[in-house]
């Protein structure tokens, strides 16, 4: 298919349809409202379901209900909206249903601002909702990658029967870039839905199904949590994705950065190269599971003196980098919040400062 120029938010909506997801529930919030606007026109064209709910809370439970009934379903929101949806995300994880949530992040805390940010890293990767659950979190660095990740997210959600989050900063939603919708990512629902509450007649079964997260017996709840943990451990074995940049030769410092911020860092790395300074970069594409081994190996290179986390937040990924690097190299942070995006020149100066 030929490349088309599309705004990120619209491309995300189209990608879901191309992935075979014809069910979308949403509530407007800046900077992702264009997804809902786009799909309010597009879903009727393809015979799909579009519904604007009365709140993010309600929308997230519409997602839960539809997912539990065996439908491929997704929603999009932005930071404060995702906070409201986090309760349902916990229930969906607990009840083991597949669903895709897209967070086009804006600044926080509270109402924060409406401009691009990466301030929900910890919420997405460490919880957000209550209880022992994790979700697969993917961070696109371009509109093209957002399209591909959205299309990959549905089979992954179904493989694990667990929510998957696309964590894009506001720039991913708002910028226009050329995109191509890959045909090879078109997927049929990958499980038989033999667990779903879709009516016994649908399954041709005499046995009814329950979708629930309540286990009053402590032994049973413990066992249930071990089942969930086994899925999260499997994600760590099978789903880690990252991109290494300029790490083949020697380099004096390592940048770890994701999303749009990593593209600024690439420019900084080019500028540094012009000055005779080599800097490598690991760009996590999955934030959970985290590419610990890749960061450890890249940081451990003999020539590498320091590691820098460059983010559009106050250093939320630093803990994951430190955990990965295990004290072998100093880890520092540089970033800005609330819509301020660090410039290549600023990143360049920070990195130069680290290597002295």
């Amino acid at each position: 298919m030929a490349k088309v120029l599309m705004k990120g938010n619209e491309a995300i909506g189209e990608a879901a349809i191309r992935a075979g997801c014809l069910n979308y529930f949403a509530y407007p919030i800046t900077p992702q409202s264009e997804v809902a606007e786009y799909l309010s026109k597009r879903m009727p064209e393809v015979g799909g379901v579009f519904l604007q709910g009365e709140s993010e809370v309600a929308v997230s439970y519409m997602i839960f209900g539809a997912a539990a009934a065996g439908a491929r379903v997704f929603t999009t929101s932005s930071s404060p909206g995702i906070s409201l949806m986090s309760e349902a995300i916990s229930y969906i994880a607990g009840a083991q249903c597949p669903a895709v949530f897209v967070n086009i992040m804006r600044g926080g805390p509270g109402l924060g601002g409406i401009l691009p940010s990466q301030a929900d890293y910890l919420q997405a990767t460490k919880g957000g909702g209550h209880g022992d659950y994790r979700m697969l979190v993917m961070a696109p660095a371009s509109v093209q990658e957002a399209v591909e990740m959205v299309m990959q997210a549905f089979p992954l959600a179904e493989k694990y029967r667990n929510p998957v989050m696309i964590l894009g900063d506001g720039l991913i939603g708002q910028m226009m870039e050329p995109v191509e919708f890959p045909d090879n990512l078109k997927t049929e629902p990958s499980n038989k839905n033999d667990w779903a509450t879709n009516g016994m007649d649908t399954r041709g079964s005499q046995t009814r199904n329950l979708v629930k997260s309540l286990y009053l017996d402590p032994e049973v709840l413990n066992k249930h949590n071990l089942t969930l943990k086994a899925k999260y451990d499997r994600m760590k074995r099978e789903e880690i994705r990252f991109e290494a940049h300029n790490t083949d030769g020697d380099y004096q410092a390592l940048i770890v950065s994701y999303g749009t911020m990593s593209r600024v860092c690439r420019t900084a790395i080019d500028l540094l190269k012009d000055q005779g300074i080599e800097v490598g970069m690991i760009r996590p594409q999955t934030l959970f599971p985290y590419p610990e081994q890749a960061v450890l190996e890249a940081a451990s290179k003999a020539s590498c003196k320091a590691v820098a986390s460059i983010e559009m937040n106050m250093g939320q990924m630093v803990e994951d980098i430190e955990r990965s690097v295990r004290g072998r190299r100093p880890v520092s942070w540089f970033g800005k919040c609330g819509g301020e995006v660090p410039t290549p020149e600023e990143v360049l100066e920070v990195v130069k400062g680290l290597i002295g």
């Binding site: 519409m62 016994m200 007649d201």
Partner: protein
């Protein structure tokens, strides 16, 4: 001679966790009878609330989902929108529906979602131990209104059926009770009508049932029935409030 009375197929053959004198068992049976009579067990999905009926799915023999507190109407919306052919109902108490879930129920009703709500109004939070609900009667003592509900402080009880009937979207809205045999027969009739509207894809349907909670009211089951009759029914009148045809059926209005 054939059997004249038997357990509905939709009702599980098990002992419930409900207290002596509780009316949930009666309501469960009515739901099961209606589902059997309409022959829709194989395409029915129930949604359990948070509250005494959180374990309702243990007592039915068709698909069930468990909601978070108050969110059952949003879940029912999700199911019904992606699978309009399924028969979906929410089973909710007054804390769940009239307090934490007021937003979800009003908007689902106003959109005219084609599912059915069974609303159990016993004027108290049951599962959490008898706290004040939005439907608690004036001066009624509960564990969080130990001196009686002070309406100057927390307002009057909410008449949910009237609230929903006030919406302009066509719907079937009815209030009955499950405290006397006569009430129960009428409740069954209302419930069947509600499900029939859904099977026909006609409208949203809401069945409020005035119920008793002897345990949390601190009354014997017999006294609880008297209290419901004397205290609740004058405030919560029975009968049809609205039909999709625009007016209550003759003789059914209150």
């Amino acid at each position: 001679m054939g059997k004249t009375f038997q357990k509905p197929l939709a009702l599980a053959d098990t002992i419930t966790h409900y207290c002596p004198g509780c009316t949930h068992g009666v309501i469960h049976r009515l739901v099961a009878e209606v589902i059997d009579e309409l022959g829709v067990r194989g395409r029915t999905v129930g949604i359990a609330p948070v509250g005494c009926a959180v374990l309702a799915y243990n007592y039915f023999t068709f698909d069930f989902q468990e909601a978070a507190h108050g969110r059952a109407p949003a879940m029912a919306t999700g199911i019904k929108r992606v699978r309009p052919d399924l028969i979906v109902f929410t089973y909710q108490g007054d804390g769940d529906l009239a307090s934490i879930g007021m937003g979800e129920i009003i908007h689902a009703a106003n959109r005219g979602e084609k599912f059915t709500t069974i609303f159990v109004n016993n004027a108290v939070y049951g599962m959490t131990g008898g706290q004040m609900a939005p439907t608690t009667m004036p001066n009624q003592r509960t564990t969080t209104s130990p001196f009686g509900r002070n309406v100057d402080d927390v307002g009057m009880p909410i008449k949910v059926a009237e609230l929903i009937a006030a919406l302009q979207t066509p719907a079937y809205v009815v209030r009955e009770a499950v405290i006397t045999p006569k009430n129960i027969l009428k409740a069954k009739k209302a419930m069947k009508k509600a499900f029939e509207y859904q099977v026909a894809g006609r409208c949203y349907s809401f069945v409020e049932l005035v119920s008793t909670c002897p345990t949390n009211w601190g009354l014997t089951p017999v006294d609880a029935v008297k209290w419901a009759q004397n205290t609740m029914l004058p405030y919560y009148p029975l009968g049809e409030l609205k039909t999709p045809e625009g007016k209550p059926a003759p003789g059914a209005e209150h």
